[in-house]
Symmetry: C2
Subunit: 205 residues, 2 copies
């Protein structure tokens, strides 16, 4: 990895939103350091491998970011807490104000202070290939933030839904196959399914 030194092109250097993909934390740090004005929102995707192999470097990166996306087992490993609520609180103390915990077919949780939001995974007839679901989720998340330019908690909830929505397509076919011809209409239609899946009228008695 030490040979991979990404150089950000000049016309991307003043980005407002930065997604650090799941790579060696030294690469992620090298990207952060190339950007002269701190972006409004920095999102980090990482995994257990970097926790096992490059703990100290990872912690330095984690201290500099706003949003971390990891899965449930990784949240437990990073925090030493089994309860995801406790894990999220501990991870927030390490740096990121927002913690997204992905639970695969069981959905995703977004934590910010004492706020919690839960996005379900869409129940599918068949999951063909889960490869790339996490990356697709991260892309959909930052894509929604970038498109809307709004980093409020309310909008971050929608970003989690947008990421879950895209990931639900990703797993339907092999590799990137399902994403290549995905239409905006299909995405909108599924967004409505997400809405219907979880919305209910509360009754206060």
């Amino acid at each position: 990895m030490a040979n991979f030194k990404p150089i950000i092109p000049e016309n991307f250097i003043n980005t407002d939103y930065l997604l650090l993909g799941n790579l060696h934390p030294a690469v992620q740090m090298a990207v952060i350091k190339q950007i002269p004005v701190r972006p409004k929102l920095v999102v980090l995707d990482t995994m257990n491998f970097w926790m096992d192999k490059t703990w100290n470097e990872l912690m330095e990166v984690i201290a500099k970011i706003d949003v971390i996306t990891i899965n449930d087992e990784e949240a437990r490993q990073l925090s030493g807490e089994y309860s995801l609520v406790k894990a999220a609180h501990k991870i927030q103390e390490m740096g990121p104000k927002y913690v997204v915990i992905k639970k695969g077919e069981h959905g995703a949780l977004l934590f910010n202070d004492d706020n919690v939001f839960f996005a379900p995974a869409l129940p599918l007839e068949e999951v063909f290939d889960p490869t790339g679901a996490g990356d697709t989720f991260a892309g959909g998340f930052i894509g929604h933030i970038t498109k809307t330019g709004d980093i409020s908690f309310e909008n971050m909830k929608r970003a989690v839904i947008a990421g879950s929505n895209l990931a639900s397509f990703c797993v339907e076919k092999f590799g990137t196959e399902r994403m290549e011809n995905l239409s905006p209409e299909e995405i909108q239609k599924r967004l409505l399914q997400f809405k219907q899946l979880t919305q209910f009228d509360i009754e206060l008695s």
Copy 2:
């Protein structure tokens, strides 16, 4: 079990809503047969043990009910399908129009024809003792239906939330301890937490 022959008291015999607790299907059938006018809604709770030991008797009961509540592994066993969507469809063909699949800390799904509703489990700091969560869920579900007298899909969604709400208290302490002094105010407050946990404003672009 063959020695347990429950007799429904006279003043309960004309019930509109019947919950058949998780017992031997012969006991469940004996209860059904005591009721002269079919209730508006019959809910069945069962488990893997009865699938293993009393399959045929269980299938006879399942053919006579409206709602079944089982966990994810049991739904797979009952249907022979891994996908919960496919499992729910197969189980619907066995009798119950409504299938509730409980996923413990991962929430619960309600299926009816092509409608799906998902109720999350409330993310808790600590789960002390999961014993009784399934029974509490079933009680909260039928309690909501009985109180409101409404068996529409919309209201059944609320019943799933009501059951999930009560179950979230059950697991906080040992046995029935947490339920004994539970106040209506606590239940209402947590209902709002459930609402906040999953509700988002959709954006149609």
